[in-house]
């Protein structure tokens, strides 16, 4: 099948990463995703790095562009009652509504599930925010950096002798879209089988904590709060990141993960069985863990003059788990990501040709595709109003003149 969601329309309200990345799954499988946006209060990714000199203004954000490829943009001023009325007509008309405003915003406009479901009993709608739609802290206004902290990820990232750091990229912003895609797809599946709709309240902090169930269960079962262990494993050694030869004047590293004693034996033979490594007390995980710093130093002495990719290849040829540490630019030259066509080029009206990214799913009988660049703000306003609502051109012109489509 060419596009699983061909003919499916999703209305998206909100911005940033957590909401917009979720609907990308559907867009890449053929859905029409309409972002409701406004110049009065633009998506913060459109303004995050904006200075007075930014080319293209609100349409010149690379960040917005790479996260919103393949969507349509409808400019709608929700401070205007007629703007809210248009949003409401669209919400009742589409197959699903996805929003990630702070709780209360949708209700203020009468666009919340309780208001919409009265006129659309089989409505499928997802609302996602940090703390959820209910509870004393529902209005708490954090971004992904705060979500990551509240869900516990920062505490367990970094070095034991240093302050915590975040896993790069404010992790709840990338976990939440996956949960949202799963929940929204399941709600559509359920509606297809039963005719029933659903409202989904995805609290990004809660979903993050579910991922960290091992962290929570360790505490509730034993009282221990797991801490930061750098790259080490509590169960196996060596397990770390080792310096390699610099390339093009830049530091290079290789990640090596020895999972059991058989892995260690193969690693030692790749090293050429040096005396330090053939010490029989290092033949067991317990022995290596007891002298882990020494083992790591011995290994790094071997990796240091070598190129990272060469080390990884030597070890992988011996069936040892190892990989070069790529920087962000290196990922474009990764042959596996190329094979999977992770990056796909699109043509953006302001930014020109640039890569966008698809997800990690490949199917034997359908293929994700990125069909277009991200939209300029309001680029599809007329088309959406005409095609979805059958709005006459004169009415569109009147709304534009009264500032509703801004």
């Amino acid at each position: 099948m060419s596009g699983l969601f061909a003919g499916t329309t999703i209305l998206e309200l909100g911005g940033g990463a957590a909401g917009p990345l979720a609907t990308r799954y559907f867009a890449d499988l053929g859905a029409t995703v309409i972002r409701v946006e406004s110049r009065q209060r633009p998506d913060f990714l459109r303004t995050l790095k904006m200075t007075p000199g930014t080319r293209g203004g609100l349409d010149g954000s690379e960040h917005f562009a790479v996260l919103n490829a393949g969507k349509l943009s409808l400019a709608l001023n929700l401070s205007h009652p007629e703007g809210v009325a248009v949003a409401r007509r669209l919400a009742l008309r589409v197959d699903a509504v996805a929003e990630n405003f702070a709780p209360g915003a949708m209700a203020k406009w009468g666009l919340d599930y309780a208001s919409l479901v009265r006129q659309r009993p089989d409505l499928v709608m997802i609302s996602t925010c940090l703390n959820g739609q209910t509870g004393p802290h529902r209005f708490y206004p954090g971004f992904g950096g705060q979500g990551s902290a509240l869900a516990g990820f920062n505490h367990v990232t970094g070095w034991p002798d240093r302050e915590p750091v975040g896993p790069y990229g404010t992790i709840t912003d990338s976990l939440a879209p996956r949960f949202a895609a799963l929940l929204l797809a399941a709600a559509l599946f359920h509606r297809r089988r039963t005719g029933q709709g659903q409202h989904i309240d995805l609290a990004q902090v809660e979903a993050g904590i579910v991922c960290l169930s091992e962290f929570v269960a360790t505490y509730t079962a034993t009282g221990e709060i797991l801490g930061r262990v750098g790259n080490r494993s509590r169960h196996a050694a060596p397990h770390g990141v080792f310096r390699c030869a610099d390339e093009d004047g830049r530091e290079r590293w290789v990640a090596i993960a020895v999972h059991d004693d058989a892995d260690w034996a193969r690693l030692v033979s790749v090293l050429g069985s040096p005396a330090w490594a053939t010490d029989p007390t290092l033949a067991t995980a317990a022995g290596r863990l007891a002298r882990v710093a020494e083992v790591e130093a011995g290994l790094e002495a071997w990796t240091r003059p070598r190129r990272a990719l060469e080390v990884a290849r030597l070890l992988q040829d011996a069936h040892v788990d190892a990989a070069p540490v790529w920087d962000l630019r290196d990922t474009h030259d990764d042959p596996q990501l190329r094979h999977r066509r992770h990056f796909r080029e699109v043509l953006h009206p302001v930014l020109g040709r640039h890569p966008a990214e698809t997800n990690a799913l490949r199917f034997s009988a359908m293929a994700p595709e990125i069909r277009a660049a991200a939209p300029c703000l309001g680029a599809d306003t007329d088309r959406v109003l005409r095609e979805l609502l059958g709005m006459p051109d004169a009415e569109i012109a009147r709304l534009r003149d009264t500032g509703v489509l801004a």
Partner: protein, 405 residues
Amino acid sequence: MRGTLDGIRVLDLTAEPGFLAGKLLAEMGADVVKVEPPGGDPARRRPPFWGGVEDPERAILWLALNTSKRSLTLALDHPRGRALFLDLVARADVVLETAPPGTLDWAALHARNRRLVLCSITPFGQTGPYAGWRGSDLTVTAMSGNLWCTGDPDRPPVRCSLPVAYYHGSIEAAAGVVFALLARETTGEGQHVDVALHEAMLMPNIGTAAMAVMTGNRGARSGAMMRQGRSVQREIWPCKDGFVSFALRGGPARIPGLVAMVRYMDEHGMASERLKAMDWTRYNHNLLSQEEVDALSAEFGAFFRTKTMAELYAAACERNLMLAPINTPREMLASAQLADRGFFVDLEHPGRGRLTLPGAFARTTPASVAVRGPAPRLGEHTAAVLGEIGVDAAALARLRAEGVV
């Protein structure tokens, strides 16, 4: 309604990287049967153990990520075990697995059941130059760009001490399964879903890998700081009893929080005249020099050091400050918000007592997501599951004697 995946039968053959996928499907209503070797899943042998007793029913990793599933023991390397597995496949909707590519034969499974969805979670995917490579959380993250950017500038790249690649990949897999089930509604055919953990770790870069060729920014580690505009700004700040996350950045969404933070500091006599005189409504971090950022940071940092995580978060919730504590499970279990939502569940584990675990990963109306039971004991449902394909008590006794179950 029990769940949106009511009536969907899943055979879960996964090792640790896929545990969460089956858990999520089970908590949406699917019947997820964990297929374990007769000796039990290797995760049952991994410490730490609940109560300190080395017991396959007390391994914390197992208990945490296999809730709501049933357990069947089956020796897949035994011809009878293999035959029974294919009988189960004939009536299953989904098989989840994490074996190296080529271990399971998709064509053979598909021939047995045209409606089957096979979801394979592997480090690099089913095909391609690295498909045969070994990989795990550390190494797939290494090749995603995400590791490069995590950690302190003067140390090697560092991973999260818990395997986030497995969580990302598992949620991706569960979504892929549902996409394939939806497609089956139209085509009548199942398909093979190929999830690569490596590729799943690109999304956590939030678009910055794609942007690297546009901006030239290859990424850098900045520790507890964040690099934006012309300066680095502190993101994680020490406070009286721990750390908090707070961003000294502008933009329409953040500025009200900055204004409120300065007012809060002023109430404690800790906002300088300079801070109070600033026009925060025009604050744009992109335009500041490092010296200006450092001067501001010194004031905010000094204030945070006088307050605990709980005090600062209580103020954040009351005053809409964009500040959050660096939580551990201790703070999560004390959270008024999570308590109000009834998030944590206290699950009875027969013979072992009650254990508190995270609850439903979402709330829906009508309700459809729930932790439906504790992780199963080894082979707890063997008789029931095999009974569903006509294996009676006598046949089961023979299978046990032969070491098949």
